[in-house]
Amino acid sequence: MPEQPIVKMVNISKRFGAVQALDRVSLDVNEGEVLGLLGDNGAGKSTLIKILAGIFPPTEGEIYFEGKPVRLSSPKEARELGIETVHQKLSLVDIMTISRNFFLGREPVKKIGPFSFLDKRKMDEECRKVVTQVGVRVRDPNEYVSILSGGERQAISIGRAMYFGARILILDEPMTALSVREQRTVIEEVKNAKAAGAAIIFITHNVYHVYPVADRFVILDKGKKIGEVTKAEVTAEELTEIVAAGSMTGEPEIGS
C-alpha cells in the first residue's frame, strides 16, 4: 500500500472577480519528494501555492493534510502545520535587520514580570548559527537585509523555513534574478532540505532550474492542470516543450 501523501489538494478553483485563476486543480505532495510545479507565466502556479500557504482561501476545493481536511485561513495556520513558504519577493523586509526578519511573526520572548520582551540574545545567536550554516557570511545578524544579495536572501529564507521545522517547503521561483553561482547555492539548499526530511514544492517556469533536483513534475497552463509526470518518464527538453505548448501531446494547440 502506497504511503498517503502529506498534502492533498483536491479540485481547487480560484476566481478573482471575472478571472478564473485556477480551475479544478488537484495536487498531491508525497513525503520527502521534490515536486517541480511548472507552467508559463500566468499559469496559476503562484495562486495555487498561495492557497496552500494560507495567504488566501480557494473559491472551491478541499485541502487534506495527512489525510485530515484543513482550512488554511492565514499564513500563520499554514506555518503551524509545517507548511513553510519562501516567496519570490515576499520573504524578507529590506529595511529590517536579518535577525529581526528571521524571527518575524515568531519572535522568542522572555518574561520580565508581567511583560514579555524580545529575547534579542537568542534571536541573534540562533540567527547567526543558521545564516552561517547556509553559507552566508555576514559580520552581524543586526545588519540590514538590504545589504544581502538575492542568493543570500533565498538561502537565509530556506534556512529559516528549515529552522522552524518545515515539513513542506514551498519555493516560489527561487532562482529568478539569481546569478549562476547563486542558483547552485539554492540547489544545494534544496538538497539539504530534502535530506532533512522535508517535502519540497519547487515552482518555476524554467524547467532547467528544477530538473536536476526534482523527482516529479506537475504542469499547469491557464489555470488548469495539464499533466503530471515522474522524472523517469521525461527529459528536460520534452518538459520544456510541454510547458511552452501548454499541452501534454507535445503539439501546440490549434484553433482552440
Partner: protein, 331 residues
C-alpha cells in the same frame, strides 16, 4: 593557542564593529547631535537661556508636543499618517473640561481617552478596510472634528471648575517650573521606545511599515497593527490635550491648529521615514525637543516670533535630507 587568539581577535573586532555600526546606524544619533549644536548656540546667544526656569518652561511645551509626536511616529513607522491629532487634541481638552465640571476629573479623563481611542479605531478601520490613504482619512477626520467642535461651542471657551486630581497629576508646578507632565513625557517615551524596540508588537510595527506584503506573508496581522497604532496616536493626542487644558484652565475649539504638522516635522527631524519602516521614539523625543527649544530660543535671542516657522521649515528639509543620505549609505 593560535586559534584561540584568532578567535578572540575576531570577537573583539566584531564587538568594535558592532558598536560603530550601531552608532552609525542609530537613527537618533543625528538628531541628538543637532540638538546639542542648537543648544550650545542658543545658550551662547542669551545667558538666561540656561536658567532652570527657562529650561523647564521649554520642557513644558515640549512635553505636550512630544507626547503627540510619539503617537505620530508609531503611525508613520507603519507607513501611515495621522493628521487628525490636532483636532483630537482640541476635542479632548474640551470634552475633558465639560465632563470634569460635572463629575470626578479622573473619570472625566478616562471617558475622554476612551472616546479618543474610538476615534483612532475609526481612522484605522476606514484606512485599512476601504484602502483609503490615511492622509485622506485623517484629514477628513481632522476637519470633521474641528468643524463640529467650532459649531457646537460657537468658538467660546469653557473654563475649568473641576476638582484638583487631574491638574495635580499633570501640571501643578512642583517648584522651579517643574511639572508632573515632564515626568509623564519621559515615562511615555521610555515605555513606547521599549514597546517599539523590545517587544513582538514593535517588530510587527516595523515590518508592517517596511514591507506590508512580507509582514502579512510571515503571519503578522498588518491591518490590526495599523488600527492599533491609530488608536495609540489618538489616545496620546487626547492625553496631551488634557495636559494643556489643566495648564491653561480653559479649553477652546481653536486649540492645536497646525499641531499635526509640527508633530510630523518633529518625528521627521527625529529620523522617522515618511515612507514607513524606520524611526525611533528616542528620535521623536529629541525632534520635539528641538522644536520647543527653537521656539523659545529664537524669541530669547531677539528674533520675532514669526522666524520660528521659517527655521522649522529649513531644519525640517535639512534633517530629512541628512537622514535620507545616511540611509542610502547604510543600505
Amino acid at each position: 593557542m593560535a586559534n584561540e587568539e584568532n578567535a578572540r581577535d575576531r570577537d573583539q573586532g566584531s564587538l568594535a564593529a558592532r558598536i560603530t555600526t550601531r552608532l552609525r546606524r542609530n537613527p537618533a544619533v543625528g538628531v541628538i547631535g543637532a540638538f546639542l549644536v542648537l543648544f550650545v548656540i542658543f545658550s551662547s546667544l542669551n545667558s538666561s537661556f540656561l536658567s532652570v526656569k527657562n529650561l523647564t518652561g521649554i520642557f513644558t511645551i515640549v512635553s505636550e508636543l512630544g507626547i503627540v509626536t510619539i503617537g505620530i511616529a508609531f503611525v508613520m513607522i507603519t507607513g501611515e499618517f495621522d493628521l487628525s491629532v490636532s483636532s483630537v487634541y482640541a476635542l479632548s481638552g474640551f470634552l475633558f473640561v465639560t465632563l470634569a465640571n460635572q463629575i470626578n476629573s479622573l473619570l472625566a479623563l478616562f471617558v475622554t481617552l476612551a472616546i479618543a481611542v474610538a476615534i483612532g479605531f475609526i481612522n484605522g478601520l476606514i484606512t485599512v478596510r476601504v484602502r483609503l490613504p490615511s492622509f485622506i482619512t485623517t484629514l477628513g477626520m481632522q476637519m470633521f472634528i474641528r468643524g463640529i467642535l467650532l459649531a457646537v461651542t460657537g468658538g467660546a471657551s469653557v473654563s475649568y471648575h473641576g476638582d484638583r486630581i487631574v491638574p495635580a497629576m499633570f501640571t501643578n508646578i512642583v517648584g522651579q517650573g517643574f511639572r508632573p507632565s515632564h515626568l509623564w513625557f519621559i515615562v511615555i517615551t521610555v515605555v513606547f521606545s521599549l514597546i517599539l524596540t523590545r517587544t513582538r508588537y514593535g517588530n510587527w510595527v516595523y515590518a508592517t511599515g517596511g514591507d506590508r506584503e512580507v509582514a502579512r506573508a510571515m503571519g503578522v496581522h498588518v491591518d490590526r497593527v495599523k488600527i492599533q497604532n491609530f488608536m495609540i496616536s489618538a489616545v496620546l493626542a487626547a492625553l496631551s490635550g488634557c495636559i494643556v487644558l489643566t495648564r491653561f484652565k480653559i479649553a477652546n475649539a481653536a486649540f492645536g491648529v497646525g499641531m499635526e504638522l509640527e508633530a510630523i516635522a518633529a518625528a521627521v527631524i527625529g529620523g522617522t521615514f515618511l515612507t514607513g519602516g524606520y524611526g525611533t521614539i528616542i528620535g521623536a523625543f529629541f525632534g520635539a525637543l528641538i522644536m520647543g527649544m527653537m521656539r523659545t530660543g529664537l524669541i530669547m535671542s531677539g528674533a520675532p516670533a514669526y522666524w520660528y516657522q521659517a527655521f522649522v521649515g529649513a531644519i525640517l528639509v535639512i534633517a530629512a535630507t541628512i537622514n535620507l543620505k545616511l540611509h542610502r549609505i547604510e543600505m
